[in-house]
Symmetry: C2
Subunit: 391 residues, 2 copies
């Protein structure tokens, strides 16, 4: 038998208490969790089943698969209906479920376990709890950041003259995997899809995507319309690399821009403005700062540089300049015009002020930062300037 909980027990308790604390605002007396990302957050592993966290009293782990897990509160079930047998007479008046991410039919099935209980939405509480990383989580993110940096530093060695965007991406995928990248790129919700990396060369960066990513690209096939499309890397084109940074279950998000030869001065200027915006946000992003202020700071700097037409896309624009990151790529807080989020110590935020310059492509950088008392600490430390691919 192997222990179900892989986290240090103090770390596990800390995370449960963070969830309980966030849950208190919903009025729920318990939460039943079924999402893989949340199960991983609470236990340090993914299993098939549910975690029941009451406001008071022991946590119960209802496991369907895999076989062989043990520990306090572990109860094997074949189907969720068996949860009622264990909860017994302690059915809470109000129970929270992950309504923003769990399928309607699944929620109905879960709700039927608790007849008479009021169902409330626990999704935001979980997002809030997860948005403030613990020191152990920050450590895992820094490990990912370090490995991702090594891969990015190796990119000029992977380049060969005449390569397509896809050929370069395949080399980056391989280098990432051999460095320990887990490949899986967790996104909350079903609507966004991306395979491993978004590499944009030349005007493909201006092809709009259906997904809510910062940048687009036509993709290789209309079944996955995002990212590289077979464009050959030519003189004068920018090569933007935004590759999967999931090496530990916790991802960092980093973008760097490369080029085979010198690129147009407008693109060079826009790239420097992106660096300047990142530095300005990192300095301004102290605890208590409204996330929307950081968006406006970025937008203002882009406008002041006369680059508003290219900021966060050209033919189609993204509506944000940064986002929380951790187990999933789209966590809280969101740096967007109408964001209600406020920065807190321990937030992990990817900041990605990018520009699309027609005739050149996408320029700019993205860094992942941890919010500290004095501002934001960068954990994706590859060089920020445009990096030459030609040796």
């Amino acid at each position: 038998m192997t222990p179900l909980i892989l986290l240090d027990s103090q770390e596990h308790s800390l995370r449960v208490e963070k969830i309980r604390s966030a849950l208190a605002t919903t009025g729920a007396k318990a939460i039943l969790i079924t999402d893989n990302a949340n199960i991983f957050y609470i236990t340090g592993r993914v299993f098939a089943g549910q975690i029941y966290i009451p406001a008071e009293g022991p946590v119960i782990f209802f496991v369907r698969r895999p076989v062989g897990l043990s520990g306090d509160g572990v109860v094997y079930i074949r189907k969720p209906e068996q949860i009622a047998e264990t909860i017994g007479l302690n059915i809470p008046e109000t129970i929270a479920l992950e309504l923003d991410i769990t399928a309607y039919s699944t929620v109905q099935r879960m709700a039927a376990i608790f007849p008479g209980s009021q169902i409330v939405n626990g999704s935001t509480a979980l997002r809030i709890a997860r948005s403030v990383k613990t020191p152990a989580e920050i450590n895992l993110m820094k490990i990912s950041g370090g490995k991702q940096e090594r891969v990015y530093r190796s990119i000029p060695k992977l380049y060969r003259t005449g390569m397509t965007d896809l050929e370069l991406q395949v080399e980056i995928e391989k280098a990432s995997r051999l460095e320990g990248c887990l490949g899986q790129f967790r996104i909350s919700g079903d609507s966004m899809e991306l395979y491993m990396a978004n590499i944009l060369v030349g005007d493909n960066a201006d092809n709009p995507t259906p997904y809510d990513f910062a940048m687009g690209g036509a993709g290789l096939d209309p079944s996955l319309p995002v990212g590289c499309n077979g464009t050959v890397i030519r003189p004068g084109y920018s090569v933007m690399v935004d590759a999967n940074g999931n090496y530990t279950g916790y991802m960092t998000d980093m973008t760097r821009t490369f080029a085979a030869t010198a690129i147009d001065s407008l693109a060079m200027k826009a790239h420097q403005v992106s660096i300047d915006i990142c530095h300005a946000i990192a300095e301004a992003g102290t605890p208590g700062t409204p996330a929307k202020e950081l968006y406006h700071l970025a937008e203002t700097m882009a406008k002041d540089a006369g680059l508003e037409h290219y900021f966060m896309g050209h033919a189609q624009k993204a509506g944000f300049v940064g986002h929380g990151v951790g187990i999933e790529i789209n966590e809280m807080p969101v740096l967007a015009p109408r964001s209600k989020d406020t920065l807190q110590i321990g937030n992990a935020i990817a900041v990605e002020p990018k520009f699309v310059i027609p005739g050149v492509g996408a320029v700019g950088i993205e860094n992942t930062y941890i919010v500290t008392q004095s501002g934001m600490e960068r954990i994706t430390c590859a060089p920020e300037e445009i990096i030459s691919l030609e040796k």
Copy 2:
């Protein structure tokens, strides 16, 4: 402006009619579709938005992103609530939504667009419509099968003595990508996760997984507990390769078993029984055959060979021997003991009778078949015997 619908117009109409026909059994007068896989099925592309298919009358495409799509029935919206303005007075009494796969909160938001309408579950109708592939879809699957076959035939060339499972997987990932594999591995629902391939070497095959795949493996990290775990490929171990076959938006699913040297005779026998089961199912799988009969055929053949302890896993067993495949890996019909599905001409079914032999690893094969009038036609045509990795 680019046309929203990328399918041939006759093909598009055929698919819409298949959905209408399946929907008729639910009593719904319309369906509102929001899932990427279903949007791709209907149009040949993914977009962010919804497709409204009334029982009679024109289909409406509500698009949020990307910009620039055009065609009959294309209506740009910023938020789903605007759908009501277009539907106007034609609000159906009963409307179907994808309740099995759409988040509860999203369904609530959609349902509010149709006040007074009864909401019913359209998920099964869509699964039924998609389970019978059109000739155009079968053609795309055959293209994927051919490309996947080329990659599998190259695997012995990718092997080097002393490799780990991960090192071999990375080479297979690269070969697949250069052959045109799109990478994305679409799975309906949120609970199953897999990155690109499941490569199982030696006793790692007996490590149970939380996911509902046929085989397990410990994985590289507890955040993604499935597949390769760093095991070195040693003499006597089997090497089972089950890699992503998505080259066209439609995937084939194929597994082959490799070995560096001769493996134990029990494993050799089990592998031959797997081949025999595939051939028997392919012959028995005529239209009208209950899917569960094919499961029982496989189970009986495994038992008759004295291999029931190893069939579909050892420490943990999968509850099925085959599954529909197409845009997603888990389509209808399912070959399982309690399946209510019946085979129809045009079903695409992956059949994977596998065995886990302690001390050796996983053996057996998986093929994707198309159900025809006279039985099942194989579209994954790599050699079926255990393939030697040593040159």
